[in-house]
Amino acid sequence: MSMTIITKVGRRQTHSIFGDIVLFLFLALLGAFMLLPFIYAISQSLKPIEELFVFPPKFFVRNPTIDNFLNLFQRTNNMWVPFERYIVNSLLITVIGTVGGVLFAAMAAFPLAKFVFPGSRKYEFVIILSLLFVFEVTYVPQYITLSFLRLIDTPWALILPAMANTLGLYLMKQFMSQLPDSLLEAASVDGASTAKQFWSIVMPNVKPAWITATILIFQALWNRDTSTYIFTEQLKNLPAVFRQISSTNTIATVGIGAAAAVLLMIPPVVVFLFSQSRMLETMAYSGMKG
């Protein structure tokens, strides 16, 4: 057991084997608690209807079936808007918002990371201040602005605000400031413009940072329930329609709701799995001074 836990370099003197085992058991237990809702959701989504209402309720599924998933698709197909429409809407909102968000944030991050010019310090201060304002806090005033701009009931009500992602900007700026100046100096001697430097030198070198920003914006947009912004059925996205389905008929929809939650969860989780190391690389520079 202990052999699997010790580091390759060898055991540090401060680390007793006993301590490692205790820590591992503790983390394993807590980890099981963290995963509990996932396992329960998957188990619920695979339960046939009679198992969902058996008393007392069982945690694990006995006779797994994919009926709930089939029902989910059937129900969505019976609606007057074809199901593919919601998938396309979800993808459109997420992809446009993410690509634009990462690009704009990177473009703004580069000058802030590498140059000092009038207003740059103040700009940074405002960005850091706005990291405090999670989306929920600016929600009402933002809604008013969106309705003044006549963007309510269009996908742009979600896409445009997501394109000014301050956390993405901040993380990319931190990462870019670690790039050696010599890299840019060589290019500027060769006469490359700031925009050219950004595109052909900075962007390829800060791949982990923009991958991280991509994931953060992707997750936020993919999971957004659009129903407060979009009323037209043809424009709604997956979270909105899944919520609609699972709230209409409470008896039969427990399993369907679980199936919907499981399906929705897959893309962000898969995306994170493939980029964990890149994200950690970026986060190493997330630190904030005074």
């Binding site: 000058p111 806090v137 009402v140 997330s286 904030m288």
Partner: protein, 299 residues
């Protein structure tokens, strides 16, 4: 002087140009909403009738004539004081524990602890686990073990609501800050630990206190800023589990109250006044925390 500033701006025009798209969107969707909400908080704007100036009356009404606001403030403070620091502590201590293991175990554990924060709508499954009838998973376990003889209304009894919400909140709170800590811990210079052993550091707790924490100041600061925002913005999980409005408004937070007034009743002027109070509180607390952290770490 003015001329040189203008020249400087001209000279750097390419930089401003790169920053333009982000800046426009940032100003339109963050700066203007914040400023306009401060202005609107002095009006009786309701999206239907023309706006008219109403002075401090919204603020007077919040403090003197709103039965829900004190509950919302109390709950938000409970979350900010309990969930905020607790989740900060959890992020840090779990990251530290995970970092004690080798790369493979570390990768798996990081994934397990981070994944709830990106699972989107999955937190609604907690509503089934804590469901109030005897069919709820938790209730049925308690009843089978003979601890309880009848189901407890975890999500609609004001006595339990907040505790359940705090648990779910903590479950979902190991997000960006947690990753920042894991990355920060890996960035601490290995040589410092070797030097520490020579200097007489014997346990991993001494290591944490004297080497790890002091070198993580910037990460601690970043995470503090992120967690303050999250703690004060609490609403999604409350609404999903206890509904909005919840029984007797027992799970109301400033943000749920704000969206209740703003998006359900269209009292935008009033909602703006609540938002303004929240902004000011968050900024003040942010400065306070920065001041504290500066004193205890070497930033």
């Amino acid at each position: 002087m003015k001329k040189t500033l203008f020249k400087e701006i001209r000279r750097n025009s390419d930089k401003y140009f790169l920053m333009l798209p982000f800046s426009i969107l940032f100003v339109v969707f963050t700066v203007i909403p914040v400023i306009s909400s401060i202005l609107l908080s002095f009006t009786d704007f309701n999206m239907l009738q023309p706006v008219s100036f109403s002075g401090w009356s919204n603020y007077l009404r919040i403090f003197l004539d709103d039965d829900i606001f004190p509950i919302a403030v109390k709950n938000t403070l409970v979350f900010a004081v309990i969930t905020g620091p607790l989740s900060y502590f959890l992020c840090l201590s779990l990251a530290w524990m995970i970092n004690e293991f080798n790369k493979n175990i570390r990768t798996i554990l990081t994934f397990i602890f981070y994944v709830p924060s990106i699972s989107g709508t999955l937190f609604t499954i907690w509503a089934y686990i804590f469901s109030g009838d005897s069919n709820g998973l938790f209730n049925s376990i308690l009843m089978r073990l003979g601890i309880n003889y009848e189901p407890v209304l975890w999500l609609s009894d004001p006595r339990y609501m907040l505790t359940v919400i705090i648990i779910v909140q903590l479950w979902a709170s190991l997000g960006t800050s947690f990753l920042a800590f894991i990355a920060g811990l890996q960035g601490v210079d290995r040589a410092l630990y070797e030097a520490g052993t020579i200097d007489g550091i014997r346990t991993r707790f001494q290591e944490l206190r004297f080497i790890t924490l002091p070198s993580m100041g910037p990460q601690l600061m970043f995470a503090a800023v992120m967690q303050i925002g999250a703690a004060f913005g609490v609403s999604g999980i409350c609404v999903a589990l206890a509904g909005n409005p919840s029984t007797d408004y027992a799970a109301a937070t400033i943000v749920t109250h704000l969206s209740d007034m703003g998006t359900a009743r269209y009292e935008m002027g009033y909602a703006s006044a609540i938002a303004t109070i929240l902004f000011i509180t968050m900024v003040l607390i942010n400065f306070g925390i920065k001041h504290l952290l500066k004193r205890y770490t070497n930033i």
